[in-house]
Amino acid sequence: MHVAPRTPSSKRHDLAVVAFFLLVLLAPTLDELVRERGEREPVHELRAPYERPAPPNDLAEFERWPGDWERWYGDGFGLRDAFLTAHSALHYFVFRNPPAPMFVVGDPGWVFYRGSLSIDDFRGLVRLSKQDRKAWIDRLEARRDYLAKLGIRYVFAVAPNKESIYPEHFPACYTRVGATVLDQLVRTFEAYSDVEILDLRPAFLAAKARDRDGDYLYTRDGTHWTPRGAFLAVRALTERFARDFPGAPIAQRSELRAKLSPGTDSLMLQMYLGRWFAERSETLVPIDGERPPVAGLDASGAPGRHVVYRNATPRAPHVLVFHDSFMPFIERALAPYTAELTLEWTRKFDLAAIAEAHPDVVIDLTVERQLVDGSLFDFRPPAVDAALGFEHAREVVGRWLPSDAGVGPEVDPAFRPVTIVGERSGVLRLELANEPRRLAAPAALTGDGRNLRFKLVVEAPEGTQLELRYRCLGSRVAEAGDGSRRELRRGRNILYFDFDRADIDGPIELWLSGTGSVLLRELETRRVVDAQGTRK
């Protein structure tokens, strides 16, 4: 710092320094006065902004409050978006450095996602021990065997990491010194197990030879498939279906087309560099028009998403997929090659979902980088009795969905005000009361009546309680119910009720009471069968 005699010129100079400093300090506050907070919040970061904390009520909340407030402030301070854009531009253009550790900057225009240990995996530093490999065999064979008892096929499919297909665009400093986890697993399963891993890499590497400038199998600035890459995945899956289900159709490129996607998986956009790199995001859809899902239309693109597509494709299997973020890019293209396609965005091997979907094939579709953590795929099959219990009442007697207009349950007027949510869907909103109110199941759901089990899918707000009893008005009036009031979770609840009698021969009524309101989304009746498919 210089020390100099003060002159009018140096005073003006000091004044300019002070003014500039104050401008930098105050500009964000001025921006907060001019622009809405929403314009600065982390929309590009694909996360919900922090909420402003309520005033603290106790010591523990008092301790947390400043940190919570600072996080809320950090998500919306003035000029945040401008600062982040400048920060990312400086890192990317000047230093070729990612603005956050989540990204890896490759060749110009290429960005990669750095998942947990994905770079170590790419480099071949993640070595599976003998125990690790045995654990992998155990967990996939357990899944396969569990499903086989239910007459369901199992496919374990792996979507390659982008860097596995395009290593030449990955930073050169990440040298490869060994086999990836997927390499090790493929070799292990080929040698020691008859579970087949559907490894998409060979198909992708072969197709890569036909890449032209700007036309790749993965988006350069994203992590997922382009329509060309998506087709390879759809083709591989449908070929696999055709192997187990003769006559099932195999996807042809001429039957599918690329469609601009409203969303984007652009990492550049996440890095606030969208104004410089605007790669189109496209999904693959049938050329003769796409059919919207019958359930989950409003599902968000995030873990927990549940979507069902229904088709009348002859000889095609009914497929359930446990998946991650790669599925949304192929689901509309894959759906026509299935009789029914149920998608569950979860890593969990969800037995309830399997029971609910009653599929012919279960697919675990996972991105390669998730294989690094084998525990994500841990599965302990339930005991045989439990496996054949309520969840596996396999024979569907009938199902009502809101889209089945005109054949819904008969609702007691006492439920008033009964409201129908959505013009097309016909979801019923039922206001509960402590008095039991009748909800008569449609005749199609009662069948001939033997050991019926009901499934209700309801959505509820926090704190909703529901009690359900059911009656059969046949030659002998029968009643059942567990008599206990159930606390519903916030969101989607699947409730099962067991009407375990062999002499049901009339209409069935459900009697609901409780507190709060629920949205009735689905009603289904199944009949219990045992392992050999014999009706109990």
């Binding site: 970061e45 400048a86 920060h87 230093f95 956050a100 990204f103």
Partner: protein, 502 residues
């Protein structure tokens, strides 16, 4: 709250500056600054912040007691002993109890006296869940209140100086509170002696020149912290996370060079920001760092590194222990004791103790035998000796455990150690990191400053003023640093998530 945060820069600092310039009179400004300092501290320590109030109140009373005893010609031993006991008890309870209990637990288990270790404070004391949430970490260790080492030493020095008659008594508890809690130096120093700021608390002024110079110093500190220390920390953190068995010598050296720069730019950056903020509010704090890495002996290093701490230990521990007045052996003992405690002041672990003893040993060696030979050694070798010794010391400072430190040192000095295929240089330091390291290496030496001063001296105009273009160029560069550092701070809130939606 950190200086290097958007909340501090965009909300707290403008409000506090506005208050100081709108209020008239030192008393009102002091009250405003004290309130601001308590908010600043309470923001980071909402509940344990009360400890600082306890410290202020108790040391104000001890000061009164010591001054009264002194004015009556009575012994000040009791007030001094009480002040030392209370202050050190606070420090030991919150900073060292977990470590000490851990040692006691290890000893007890080792001797077969106690089957269960009692290292975890919460479990040992049987605290209620509410109190446990406030006092303890999730693992049951006691929480370390922010800045407790700084404000405890600062408050204690006030009582000791009053007892010695080196500082005048402060009868106004708010003024003493301001001295202890003043936010610019509260969290990371420098440790300000009461006698250095006593007059400024009572009367001070800020003019445009001082405000501008404070801003320049603050921006320099912000740049050091955000643009160099934080980037160097990325490298150091990643290298130190590598298992020591895999470290190659070159990677180990990269890590320790990065850490050497990180700790200097981090610490001196905070000191610069504190000194700059002090200027903005009319205070003058003493320098805390003077290019320590150009020292030609470890003794000189400690005259340049964290000066306020080393002088505190000199004045309140080394000299009272007898300093160098009681013979060689006692001097050496005093040096080792002081540096062992200096090491522990930095943190409650064996690594810090070893780091302190290590430096104490060098000071003893230099005083006993090596010093004279060192004087006859070429300057370049003396610099190399200091850098090498200091960097080895930083390994103990940075490593999580003693074993980790020894493993790291083995990697540094064993040719062929580790597996070069596993960790490439490029994956630890790319263009940005190398830029920061080179800028840090240049900035840690006084060459740039010396060259600039020489050029400036030649360029001075006849009236002695610097040419306008020089001043404009320097300030434009600082404006750039401020803008880039602000962008980096803003990026602290950048937290992208991949699987939310598309």
């Amino acid at each position: 709250m950190l200086f290097s945060s958007t909340l501090f820069l965009f909300r707290f600092l403008p409000i506090v500056l506005a208050g100081c310039f709108l209020l008239r009179g030192t008393g009102a400004r002091n009250t405003w600054l004290l309130l601001a300092s308590l908010v600043f501290y309470g923001w980071g320590e909402p509940v344990l912040g009360a400890l600082m109030l306890v410290s202020i109140a108790s040391n104000w009373l001890f000061g009164l007691w010591a001054a009264r005893a002194r004015s009556r010609g009575a012994s000040v031993a009791w007030p001094v002993a009480s002040a030392v006991a209370v202050n050190l008890s606070l420090l030991v309870a919150f900073k060292y109890s977990d470590w000490l209990l851990g040692i006691a637990s290890d000893v007890a288990v080792g001797c077969g006296w106690a089957p269960q270790p009692f290292a975890q404070v919460a479990d040992t004391l049987g605290l209620s869940p509410e109190l446990r949430a406030v006092l303890c970490t999730e693992t049951g260790s006691i929480r370390l209140p922010i800045g407790i080492s700084f404000f405890t030493f600062q408050a204690l020095s006030y009582v000791l100086d009053v007892a010695r008659g080196e500082a005048r008594l402060q009868r106004n508890p708010l003024s003493l509170g301001l001295y202890v809690a003043l936010f610019p130096q509260l969290v990371a120093g420098p440790i300000v002696r009461y006698q250095d700021v006593a007059d400024q608390i009572d009367a001070r002024s800020v003019d445009l020149t001082r405000l501008a110079s404070g801003i320049r110093r603050f921006v320099i500190g912000l740049g050091k912290k955000v643009l160099i220390a934080n980037v160097a920390a990325e490298i150091a953190d990643r290298v130190f996370a590598v298992p020591t068995s895999q470290l190659t010598p070159s990677l180990a050296w990269l890590g320790i060079v990065a850490y050497t720069l990180q700790i200097y730019f981090d610490f001196s950056g905070y000191s610069d920001m504190a000194i700059g903020l002090g200027h903005m509010f009319g205070f003058h704090f003493l320098e805390n760092f003077r290019y320590p890495y150009v020292a030609r002996s470890i003794t000189e290093f400690w005259r340049r590194w964290h000066i306020s701490l080393s002088t505190w230990f000199r004045d309140y521990l080394y000299i009272p222990l007898g300093g160098n007045r009681r013979g060689k052996a006692r001097t050496y003992f005093n040096l080792v004791t002081v540096f062992a405690l200096c090491g522990l002041w930095h943190g409650a672990s064996w690594s810090f103790l070893v780091w302190g003893l290590y430096h104490g040993l060098f000071l003893v060696l230099e005083r006993a035998a090596v010093g004279e030979r060192l004087e006859r050694t070429p300057r370049a070798l003396r610099h190399a000796y200091v850098l090498l010794a200091v960097m080895i010391g930083w390994v103990f400072f940075r490593a999580e455990t003693l074993d980790g430190a020894l493993g790291y040192l083995a990697a540094m000095f064993t040719p062929g150690h580790g597996d070069a295929r596993l960790h490439t240089f490029g994956s630890f330091a790319a263009r940005l990191q190398w830029t920061a390291l080179i800028a840090g290496a240049i900035g840690a030496m006084p060459w740039v400053r010396a060259i600039a001063q020489r050029l400036l001296a030649q360029a001075r105009e006849p009236d002695g003023a610097l040419p306008t273009r020089w001043r404009v160029a320097a300030d434009v560069a600082l404006a750039g640093v401020l803008l880039v550092a602000t962008c980096e701070l803003a990026a602290g809130s950048y937290n992208p998530f991949i699987y939310f939606r598309f």
